[in-house]
Symmetry: C2
Subunit: 313 residues, 2 copies
């Protein structure tokens, strides 16, 4: 197995802390980078000047590499990208859009670019666009997700068959066994999201963190497929979605139900019933809120133990 | 890691060839058993007397253990179960129903019983019903599937946290890397379906086998969730399903569209456009039709290679 992810980002362990809207500000990203993995700020929930502040605070809190995740479906992308360059961020993860739009512009400025995909088709497009690595994210992942519904277990080896650049697996990974399984399937490293929502340093509301800890198998669902498919915890808001679907709604009616700021309301403000609670299926394997350093230590220990178990096979 | 699956079925390798309607008759099951894995007849597509014939032919073709998969949603279950006992089949996999219905009856006759589940809740129910092992099958699996949409990557460790009896992973596994990854995640063995559809010995129509070989990432979908959710290859029949869904159909209208014998028409008779073509997402990793012995050899070789790669980590 390679050191490609470690070398690409200049980090100690091949783990990326996912950039997640409303959950990953400077505290989480800097704690992750200080723990030897790659921390990411989630720009999707930040006004441009808020992002600037988080970048500056993150730089003060860590001397290790960190990056910014930019979901291209949100507004103000030009301003976001300008601030990333002005503030000298060296690593950008783009998602939810065409990898051709920003890759060359960013790479011309010496920035390492990674694109998040959920299909072989977009993995090939991203490689062609010149990205430095790909995150391939399976159906089980939380938040916005692809239309093909391809799971991590099949997506990783299928993408691996088609691309040569470093491959980061995402979706369903929260511990060292998941990390090893993803690498067996062909990944060079892993991106972990949900596990870091339930960390002390995430900006997630404490009620949401506890909801993630309490979530069990079957509690999440991929829905709103006519808008941008999103995986969330079933709650009163989801019940309303189900009711609306029974009427054969238009896209406009779905948008109206979603409204504005549902994600903020759920994940940042802790409205567990009427907010949007984005999390992965792997929430069912997360049983406590821990500091990032502890989470990373546990993952690495489990990873070593899982390797030892394989050696005995 | 354990030898629990090998010991339970008295087989050489911890691999089960899935019992699949219209695809797994005596030729496939006996070839699998002769290759050192557990072959299964798929009773779901057989009239009782046809099953009897397949059991007898299978016994003539192999002296190794084999079993029968009985999806409990099909008719004639009483007759099927009587024939299984009369013909002295020693291993039964039940699926698509309540594990309490038949487990005690079968176990009283000395038969080893395995139940297929797709959620933690049903894994617990099956263990409580006294089954000898569980198959936990992820969302990516072909054919009939669960409502929770939990993927193999997250289902296996979640089930493992809750049950003590032997655990067989299914869904998304077609090669040795998948087998090792499933075991890293907590499985004692694996059940493989799609890969054996594209075998020389399966009773699948040659046109369907070739369709599986040609399938790519994104070509399958889980649909008809209001009836029994089923994963199939998108074709003209699926386009008709999509059209019907736009009208907000009743369950009755969906049943009418499905009609009778769609699965036979697609998989056994080779009608690629209007038949039901049940296969897993992993079809995108299957690139040839091979004899079962070759398929098993390849899986075992890849499994060893993947273990060696881990040893170097």
């Amino acid at each position: 197995m390679s050191q490609r992810i470690e070398d690409l980002f200049k980090i100690k362990y091949p783990i990326v802390q996912a950039g997640m809207i409303w959950n990953s500000g400077w505290r989480l990203a800097s704690a992750s980078s200080n723990a030897g993995i790659l921390g990411l700020l989630g720009a999707g929930s930040m006004y441009p000047e808020v992002l600037r502040e988080h970048i500056r605070k993150c730089k003060k809190a860590t001397s290790e590499p960190f990056g910014v995740n930019v979901p291209m479906l949100y507004p103000n992308i030009e301003d976001i990208m300008s601030i990333i360059v002005e503030e000298d961020v060296r690593i950008v993860f783009t998602s939810a859009g065409n990898p051709k739009t920003w890759t060359t512009w960013l790479k011309d400025k010496g920035i390492t670019v990674v694109h998040v995909v959920s299909s072989v088709k977009f993995a090939l497009k991203a490689q062609e666009a010149g990205v430095d690595a790909i995150v391939a994210e399976g159906f089980e992942a939380g938040g916005h997700n692809g239309r093909d519904e391809t799971t991590t277990f099949t997506l990783i080896p299928m993408v691996k068959e088609h691309i040569d650049i470093p491959l980061i697996a995402a979706g369903g990974i929260a511990n060292g066994k998941g990390m090893l399984a993803a690498m067996v399937l062909g990944a060079d490293g892993v991106q972990i999201g949900s596990r870091f929502v339930a960390s002390e340093e995430s900006s997630s509301h404490i009620a949401f963190k506890q909801k993630v800890v309490d979530a069990k198998e079957g509690d999440t669902i991929l829905t709103l497929k006519e808008l941008a498919p999103v995986r969330l915890i079933k709650n009163n808001f989801y019940d309303e979605i189900v009711e609306l679907y029974k009427k054969g709604p238009t896209v406009e009616e779905l948008k109206n139900l979603l409204g504005r700021a549902r994600a903020k309301r759920g994940m940042f403000e802790g409205d567990l019933e009427d907010g949007e609670l984005e999390i992965g299926q792997v929430a069912g394997l997360i049983h406590d809120i821990q500091p990032v350093s502890q989470i990373v230590d546990n993952i690495l220990r489990e990873f070593e133990e899982a390797k030892q178990a394989i050696r005995k096979l």
